[in-house]
Symmetry: C2
Subunit: 359 residues, 2 copies
């Protein structure tokens, strides 16, 4: 697909993208000849640039400005030209200190990851905690509070639990709750929602006699608990960093971004991309209009085969991809490492980290 580009064209394209990423100004032929990396006259480079433009890799904001990469240009750059960036000692230290933080609670870890990413890369960072694909409540537990109130605990899978306070006008006691608990565990635990037909629920209500009235509110909570969207959370850190890039200062770009940050649905959509390594969305590639001029780079955090979240950054298309990619890869893998316990492939409770030689 890209074979059409001669090595020299590639080198020139790379130089242009590199320069533009750094400066933000359109780069002209003179800039390249001055950089000494080519033993060519500016005229030759101009010819090449004109061809690269014809091929769709470059564009001119206007005659007599230099060239800037198109989305296609960036795409080729990240796919084929970009060099690996070696994180500096300081950067590694920053990332590591975050990974070694006391709490390995997933929420905090992911949230902190966002802050660190934003700081390190100087782009707004996105940190997602993904809802688990669980769609059944595996176990119910009821805790008595007083006659009119009890706590409903729903365990979903082996790594998530939801609680709800239930107020009831039918006075309950420990004994009743035990019974109700058992009924719930028999009838509902482990069952798919589709099982919960009306007749099925009525059957359940019969088992409960006077307490049948509790079924419907509880079932409502069950529905809420298994709602996948419920549990996913997306944080954006360092939004103000956008202002450091002049491309956002004018026109409606900033508004588009902030609007997208506010709504979040487009972001979730973009982040749903499959792909297990770092994913790079350049501009409108994925059909999101608000992404015009901006790129999103992220990587899922996969623990024991399950995607538990993602970290990434969003910024102008002229983003320091190589550094960003390195940082994201390191952090994403690092978080996965902290959360993973080889023995059982499960998410670990925080204590596990602090006391590894307990046994």
């Amino acid at each position: 697909m890209y074979n059409e580009l001669s090595p020299r064209k590639q080198a020139i394209l790379k130089a242009i993208v590199d320069a533009y990423i750094e400066s933000g100004d359109p780069v002209g032929s003179k800039t390249l000849t001055q950089s000494k990396q080519f033993v060519l006259s500016s005229a030759t480079i101009r010819n090449e640039m004109a061809e690269l433009e014809a091929l769709g890799y470059l564009e001119q904001p206007h005659t007599s400005a230099g060239r800037i990469p198109t989305e296609l240009g960036y795409r080729f750059y990240v796919d084929a030209l970009m060099q690996d960036y070696a994180l500096s000692q300081g950067e590694l230290a920053e990332l590591n200190s975050m990974l070694k933080a006391k709490s390995a609670e997933i929420d905090k870890l992911i949230h902190n990851a966002g802050k660190v990413m934003a700081n390190l890369t100087n782009y707004p960072a996105i940190a997602v905690k993904q809802g688990q694909g669980k769609n059944t409540v595996t176990r119910f537990s009821l805790t008595y509070i007083d006659e009119g109130n009890f706590l409903l605990v729903m365990v979903c899978g082996s790594r998530s639990a939801k609680t709800r306070f239930v107020r009831t006008d039918i006075p309950v006691n420990e004994e009743v709750l035990r019974m109700l608990e058992q009924v719930l565990n028999n009838f509902v635990a482990g069952k798919d929602l589709s099982t919960l037909t009306l007749p099925y629920l009525m059957q359940m209500e019969q088992c409960l006699g006077n307490y049948a009235g509790l079924v419907s509110p509880i079932i409502k909570f069950v529905y809420e608990a298994v709602d996948k969207d419920e549990e996913r959370a997306l944080h954006i850190d360092g939004v103000d960093k956008l202002l450091e890039y002049p491309e956002f200062m004018e026109s409606g770009k900033l508004k588009d971004m902030l609007g997208m940050f506010d709504r979040k649905d487009e972001l979730f959509e973009l982040l749903d991309e499959e792909g297990d390594d770092v994913t790079i969305c350049i501009g409108r590639e994925k059909g999101v209009e608000a992404m015009a001029g901006s790129s999103l780079v992220f990587k899922k955090i996969v623990v024991g085969g399950k995607t538990v979240g993602a970290v990434g950054v969003i910024g102008p298309c002229r983003m320091d991809y190589s550094k960003v990619v390195s940082a994201i890869r390191y952090l994403s893998d690092g978080i996965a490492g902290v959360l993973y316990t080889p023995q059982n492939g499960q998410l670990t409770a925080p204590t596990e980290q602090d006391d590894p030689n307990k046994r």
Copy 2:
């Protein structure tokens, strides 16, 4: 304190603030005479304006511009001059539809409140869910998952519960968990953290024999659970609305705002103000530098004597205070109303709203 201002000065100040709030342009003497509300010449009004400026209520961006209110001017306006705004039918409908939403779960309610506020007022809205002042776990409950894992449920007060998954290398079963549960309820439930001295904990460990090793991780979770800050959350909706006000488009104001939105600590501080009705912070009044040129209007949501959160908006000092105040008051009280159940003064479970005549 404000007696120094003659009624006419007050009227003129009010007219200026009103006009400036609406237009955003400095208002001159001519504008006021043209508005027909004064039977005075522009010269007279100019004199009054000059005096209001000398008194610190107005300022001029530059000679030959009209006057704009100072922070003091706004302060006087909101304290003494502002008229009540009657919410329109449409606005009331919007607010009510939100209050009648299916779920009365406090998190969602408050979160939605933010969205609605931002929409209605056209300023970014702030929605806070406050950490409850609870500082003890009132009840423990353990749920068996498998030999190496169980769920720890901590009930705090009668309106909040936390869950943690505990992984253990000491195999457990239902029976052990019952015992542990009992010990926890005896030793820790309802106790202040200061009670949990090392000797006390060791005593507890003795009761548990082989399972003493579980105490320390659990106590750590207890500490986490009662951490007040843990539970408070602050959402900001409609950040992009800031861009509709030209005052933010230039200079570093926007960056200040976004930075403040990001950090949130200054916001928490501002929102900690006491005061049970709508609170209005104008500019740097409260010493927050980033608030220069912006105002924050909010009201706590108080349910049964407890502050459970707050809603507010933040925007330029030239904010439509009267509308904002009305909307915030209505919404804050409305949410409190939805959450309050007169019979017991407690937070109610969602079902309560849908099924009020269950008994």
